[in-house]
């Protein structure tokens, strides 16, 4: 059984559908990379899972099974136990996520004490151990530092120490390296991989950078305008992408002959308030067909754990696309 299983998740902000019919699973010890551009709904998906979507956003449909229980129906008190102890979090901006007037050690101790995993007296030594685990030099000294005294890379290490404090089986990392320089990013990615092994973690890694996915993820799900349009094992997706959007993203990474034109995806990311009819990628798609405007394509299972939502790859046996239920406006 999968550790986390998200089924038909739907999150709205008023009339805007930020997450639309999103389904995926994360198995034990696996890293799923969730990749997409700004506004694709990848962060809202993560916040929906732990039920921390900002007002006026609301999770209006779907199920989120974590260790067999549907998180969307849990009482808030139990949900609070899940956050931290069941699912750890690493955010993009460690400076915004850390309390500027709390020492590093207090952040980690708080997590341990709240979840009843340490007394006040031994929380400090546990915090030092965790700082050592995330490879912070001189942890006995750093434990008394304030967040502003740390570099960006060190702050992200502290975030990881907090996330790992209660030994959660799943960690969600939302753009953990985006604000960092490339050499620091490499260190943090190495550390993530190592922590995953050492703590037997499953990881939901949210990023816009396919390079980060290629280095870290086992499987990848590609989001566009609120939906997952393709998912599968990372090698399969990188070698044999099926959705024109995935192909475009991979092709637009500079890497061909120097000075040659890059393959660009024309147009711009659509505004959620003005989504085109049918497939939302349609207007930017080089393979557009008449059918693409009829309805959003359903999921086609391509085998080998690879699935796609595109009329280029109709489900076997289907002649006409099944129009999905029109969302209530």
């Amino acid at each position: 059984m999968a550790l986390l299983e998200v089924q038909n998740l739907r999150t709205t902000f008023g009339s805007l559908v930020a997450v639309n019919d999103v389904s995926f699973e994360i198995r034990k010890g696996e890293t799923l990379g969730l990749v997409g551009e700004s506004g694709s709904g990848k962060s809202v998906t993560a916040f929906s899972i732990i039920r921390l979507v900002q007002e006026p956003g609301r999770v209006v449909g779907g199920k989120v099974f974590f260790q067999g229980r549907d998180l969307l129906t849990l009482p808030e008190a139990e949900m609070r136990q899940i956050r931290g102890a069941g699912i750890g979090f690493v955010f993009q901006e460690p400076m915004a996520a850390l309390n500027p007037v709390m020492r590093v050690g207090a952040h980690i101790a708080e997590a341990l004490i709240v979840h009843g995993l340490a007394s006040r007296s031994d929380a400090r030594s546990r915090a030092i151990d965790l700082l050592r685990a995330v490879k912070i030099v001189d942890p006995e000294k750093r434990v008394d530092d304030y967040p502003h005294q740390l570099s960006g890379g060190m702050r992200q290490r502290v975030m990881m120490a907090i996330a790992l404090a209660c030994r959660p089986p799943l960690v969600i990392a939302d753009e953990p390296t985006t604000a960092l320089d490339v050499t620091v990013q490499a260190q943090i990615l190495d550390l993530l991989r190592e922590m995953k092994r050492e703590f037997e973690l499953s990881l939901l890694l949210i990023t816009h950078d396919l390079g980060v996915i290629g280095e870290t993820a086992d499987r990848v799900a590609v989001m566009y305008a609120g939906r997952i349009v393709e998912q599968g094992p990372v090698r399969e997706i990188f070698r044999n992408p099926k959705h024109p959007y995935t192909r475009g993203l991979l092709a637009s990474i500079p890497g061909g002959a120097a000075g040659s034109r890059l393959v660009a995806i024309e147009g711009t990311v659509p505004n959620l308030a003005q989504l085109p009819p049918g497939c939302s990628f349609g207007p930017r798609c080089g393979d557009r067909m008449a059918v693409c405007e009829s309805a959003f394509p359903g999921v086609t299972d391509l085998g080998d754990d690879h699935s796609v939502r595109c009329y280029l790859h109709p489900a076997p046996g289907s002649r006409l696309p099944m129009p999905e239920k029109v969302a209530t406006r």
Partner: protein, 292 residues
């Protein structure tokens, strides 16, 4: 003669200096020299704090350097009077990183692109309108949107507005400071293609300031790697990527995430203690210099 030649550029910022604290000096740009040839794309790469943006800004005197020379077509820009400098800036323009903060939100796109023409007192009102419409077409914007405000454009379109403004005075030299790093991945390629097309069409010379090595490898002819205010390695792009000599360059190259999941991962970590900051650049092969 090189189009632009930077000689021993230095920019020191003084910091602190309170009641109980002595002033300290940050050597943001520390004796930097390089030259940019007509028609090429010269890339300055490095991480945050390496001094690459400060170098670019000093070259246009958007900030005043502490010392050094910046020769543009053989004349030292740093010695220009303010009126002479204004005239010179017609030929050297800048494109900024963030298309959200670099465009005045209260000005219409037309006014933003027209502004350089007004400042240099060029053309009549109707001439300028026509010129701005031409510039819109040149950068792939629809002239029907001339009177819109910046917030009505997407990030990629805003960067095109910034580019149209930079091109308004027909410059020959453009400093592009991280021109695509704030854009979505699928939009970056569009803007990069546009930059390359314009270079061909208008015979532009670029100084391209960036941290994305994949991009630099793709578009630049030569590259200089900056580390803590100094150039530690410089040469033809292909040569630098294939045959890096400086420890920092090697660490930087090895940190670029591979998009091939099966690519061997050989991370090289930099031990800052092993970098000799005082080592001068010396030639290691034809046109390839490294501070080793």
């Amino acid at each position: 003669m090189s189009l632009v030649e930077v000689r021993n550029l230095v920019k020191h910022f003084e910091r602190g200096g309170g009641l109980f604290r002595a002033k300290s000096v940050v050597r943001a740009v520390d004796d930097v020299s390089f030259s940019v040839e007509e028609g090429e794309t010269f890339a300055l790469v490095g991480e945050s704090g390496s001094g690459k943006s400060t170098t670019g800004r000093c070259m246009l005197r958007l900030i005043e350097p502490t010392s050094g020379e910046v020769l543009f077509r053989g004349e030292n820009v740093l010695g220009f009077s303010s009126s002479r400098l204004r005239a010179a800036r017609r030929d050297m323009q800048m494109v900024f990183q963030d298309p959200y903060s670099s465009l005045n939100p209260r000005m219409r796109a037309f006014t933003i692109v027209e502004e350089p023409l007004v400042i240099h007192d060029l053309g009549s009102k109707s001439d300028r309108r026509e010129r701005v419409a031409d510039l819109f077409r040149l950068v792939g914007l629809d002239p029907a949107h001339l009177d819109r405000y910046p917030h009505e454009f997407s990030g990629g379109q805003r960067q095109r507005i910034g580019l149209a403004r930079a091109l308004a005075l027909n410059p020959s030299f453009i400093i592009a400071d991280e021109p695509v790093s704030a854009l979505d991945v699928s939009i970056q390629a569009q803007v990069i293609n546009l930059l390359m097309d314009l270079q061909q069409q208008l015979k532009l010379t670029y100084l391209f300031i960036a941290h994305d090595l994949r991009l630099v490898r793709h578009i630049s002819t030569r590259v200089a790697v900056m580390y803590l205010g100094r150039i530690v390695e410089m040469g033809n792009t292909a040569e630098i990527f294939a045959n890096a000599q400086h420890a920092y360059t090697r660490a930087l190259l090895s940190a670029v995430p591979a998009t091939d999941p099966d690519a061997p991962r050989a991370r090289i970590e930099l031990d800052p203690a092993l970098v000799n900051r005082e080592a001068p650049l010396r030639q290691v092969s034809e046109g390839h210099f490294a501070a080793v």
